[in-house]
């Protein structure tokens, strides 16, 4: 599977999944991104992104138990794969290389 480049939202979703560890699923990922970035996140966008990342083999999933607060539906829990960690590491190095030498004020 070719992993390809990470989109901005995919990057955020992967980072949230890494932060949340074993408790990463659609709702917790959306709420984490909203809390950290202040942006409003559409639940379908998060869900479809997690599925796309799974297709790229950057995350893997397993089903949890059905719960009443979800209307009796089970949640799908996601964890990062080794390929996902490699992808994040590469992305971080790429961004750090681009930020290197730029002062905090962004001035000249």
């Amino acid at each position: 599977m070719r992993h390809g480049s990470l989109g901005e939202f995919e990057h955020l979703v992967l980072l949230a999944t890494l932060h949340l560890g074993s408790d990463a699923y659609g709702v917790s990922v959306s709420e984490f991104i909203e809390e950290r970035t202040g942006r409003r996140v559409n639940q379908a966008a998060t869900y479809l992104t997690l599925r796309r990342l799974e297709e790229k083999e950057l995350v893997q999933s397993s089903m949890g138990e059905p719960t009443p607060e979800r209307g009796g539906r089970a949640k799908r829990l996601f964890t990062l794969t080794d390929a996902g960690r490699v992808q994040l590491r590469e992305k971080r190095e790429e961004l750090m290389a681009m930020w290197e030498g730029i002062p905090e004020s962004l001035g000249p």
Binding site: G26, Q43, Y47, R52, E55, E69, R70, G71, A74, K75
Partner: protein, 224 residues
Amino acid sequence: MSRPPRLAERLIRLLLPGEEHDELLGDLHERFQGVLGRKGPVRAVAWYWMQTFRSTPHLLLGWLRPVPRRGRLSTHQGVSFAGTGSPFRILRQEPLLSLTTVTVLAIGIGAPTTMYSIVTGLRQGLPLPDAQELVAIARVDPVVGGAAGFDALQFDAVREAQSAMAGLAAYRPVGAQIDGWPGAPTRAMAVELSAHAFALLGVDPVLGRLPGEAGAEPGAPPGS
């Protein structure tokens, strides 16, 4: 109402056929319960519909790209299109939901376009120079969860710090009493403006005089 709107749920089922919609509906149900507890049933239902509207383009785009079925993720095993059947067949089998989907899409596209046209038309119709450059600025109040005004200190701070606009002026709707014009005192809706508003709008008062800049300073005597 302690559960999400059924029609919105059915719409998502239609837009995301197959087993996958249960997982998304579970996520939405859980977040709905959270909004319900914090903001009450009306806001929770409005939130759910907003999520449904905003989901539509994502879910429709999902139909156009191949996604793996659960348990068949490896490329060696191939990929298939999402859902259990052709979207068009499902649309034909569910005429009511199809109609709802088309209506939602039409409203979703038409409503913002109409509002934009109305607002643009109104602004162009204002008898002010450069009316098309006027914008309204509001503060987002995290407690209220929506737009809110500025108090005087906040307004002064924003006005001094900003450099994107030619200038800022504040306004506040108030109830006013007009004495002796045209006859007996009458109550009227009025708008209080900051000292800079007339100059910024490029207009002169029809009656009376403009307040001076000194009148806007804290502690300035009335009428200065």
